[in-house]
Subunit: 127 residues, 2 copies
DNA sequence: CTAATATATCAACAATCATTGATATAACTA
DNA sequence: TAGTTATATCAATGATTGTTGATATATTAG
């Protein structure tokens, strides 16, 4: 093995690994094309389930399944109005994970969401 | 079904759907915890495979497998030096997908990568 | 040439997850 | 009340994918 001062990024440090797992689960949720399409629709405004699954050409139960995943991840919020349940994007949560993404994967910039200072360490400190 | 002017975002428009699929595949690649850890390490600088799989405690063949996925997605680049193959992050490619992510999922801001103008339509135009 | 090291590949297995069909729940309407 | 609409749940299936063990390739050292 080539001699190198191995800093052991991401290993043994439960806090950092926890954040990596958190990001990983978010990315898994949004990496499905149908769920990305749903988020696209909802970014334009609140919609009931009909007005999600019909324009996208997805079965109602499949759409409900994906909405459940997005809901459980906190990425969308709901509001009942009579027979209808309206879904909308939870921007705060999306922004939170976007900051996490930017800190871990992309550069180091971030908006104020309270996860900035500690996260920068992820690139430097050892476990 | 509730009456609503359905714009049919993301449906029937091959260009937009293609970009959604492109983003989807990128997100799938980076949504694995081990691959995220590898990217974390490589962000600090070039590394041979030993200096990736040993500090992370991953089997060599598993690491090779994940590196192949990252390589085929263009997210990392390689350089041979004797027995060793050094891996490094392909920042341009990461930035490209980060812009795609920001346009589709997050807000609308983006850096100059040539995919800006068309992508904003994704939120507005119909199929 | 032979041995050792670094990395990649392949086949098999296990686990995860998207999709489908059927059914249940909830709310409104007649 | 019964019937209709909107949405959710459940079980089963199929596809994808992460993981492992064994083996192959490539490079250097002796």
């Amino acid at each position: 093995m080539k001699n190198l001062d191995v800093e052991e990024c991401c290993k043994g440090d439960s806090v950092k690994l926890k954040q990596l797992k958190e990001l990983s689960e978010y990315l898994k949720i949004i990496s499905d094309v149908n769920r990305l399409q749903i988020l696209c629709l909802l970014k334009k405004g609140e919609r009931c389930v009909c007005n999600i699954h019909e324009p996208l050409g997805l079965p109602q139960n499949l759409t409900s399944h994906h909405l459940k995943a997005l809901r459980e991840a906190g990425l969308v919020l709901t509001r009942r109005e009579g027979k209808w349940i309206h879904y909308r994007v939870n921007s705060d949560r999306i922004n939170y994970f976007t900051n996490l993404y930017n800190l871990i994967v992309s550069g180091g910039e971030y908006e104020d969401q309270g996860i900035g200072a500690g996260m920068c360490q992820l690139q430097e400190a050892g476990g």
